[in-house]
Symmetry: C2
Subunit: 129 residues, 2 copies
Amino acid sequence: MSRVAVVTLVDLPLTSGPRGAACCIGDSCASITRAAVTEAGARDLAAVLKALADPVRLRLVSMIAAHEGGEACVCDLTEPLGLSQPTVSHHLKVLLDAGFLTRTRRGTWAYYALVPGSLDAVAATLATV
Amino acid sequence: MSRVAVVTLVDLPLTSGPRGAACCIGDSCASITRAAVTEAGARDLAAVLKALADPVRLRLVSMIAAHEGGEACVCDLTEPLGLSQPTVSHHLKVLLDAGFLTRTRRGTWAYYALVPGSLDAVAATLATV
DNA sequence: CCTAGACATCGACGCCTGTCGATGTCTAGG
DNA sequence: CCTAGACATCGACAGGCGTCGATGTCTAGG
């Protein structure tokens, strides 16, 4: 864990690893078209998508981006979601580790902000298969 | 269940429902920027993303799209993935119900093909928050 | 130093999900 | 009709995940 997906998120649209190494072991695939995604690439993209595949976390990203100044503290997010403070902190940590949010402590409060272009990077990667 | 997400998938990028109805119940939100995503919209998008947030299913989509003719049967996909036939059929059903694949029976075999533009629709919706 | 408040972490509970073997269903071919 | 094969479905199991209350940690202010 511990926020290793941030690098992965940046590397994803750049198509780092070699592709098409695990498909068509038999002789049925003529490989006329393009190659398939790598097993490791699929695992990394799935990990990033899994962080977003939750209604609460999608609303969190949206609410933070729509909030004043593009940032919000936990106390601003607990009441609209109708969830407890530990639950909101848990979801924020998942988004933080996935590289979608940043955390800034100012005084007693912790302000979360959306990483610019992180959603677009995932969307671009998703469109390439 | 039973493939209701197909309509949702098409409706998602069209921004059908009303937005910004559930955010900022208190008085802390000045609503200077745009409104947040709806609770129902987040639930639908999360359901579609959850179907993609799996390494095996991402590889399935990629392998089917890269296969000859843009379609593949179950027997072509079992061996490269190293999974049992029921498991592969299970993942294909998840992608089918989410609206990413179509199934066509020809003789004994069932051919799965990628729905054109389905991935791009999700990517476009994801980029809009 | 002590209190109050915001947030993170922990432990526990119930639910969902990925996986498999076993079995059912359907088609092609004798 | 009967067999063989491809695929779907079922039941069961282990592991992961979302949620909460309780507790720990840190900062601001007396």
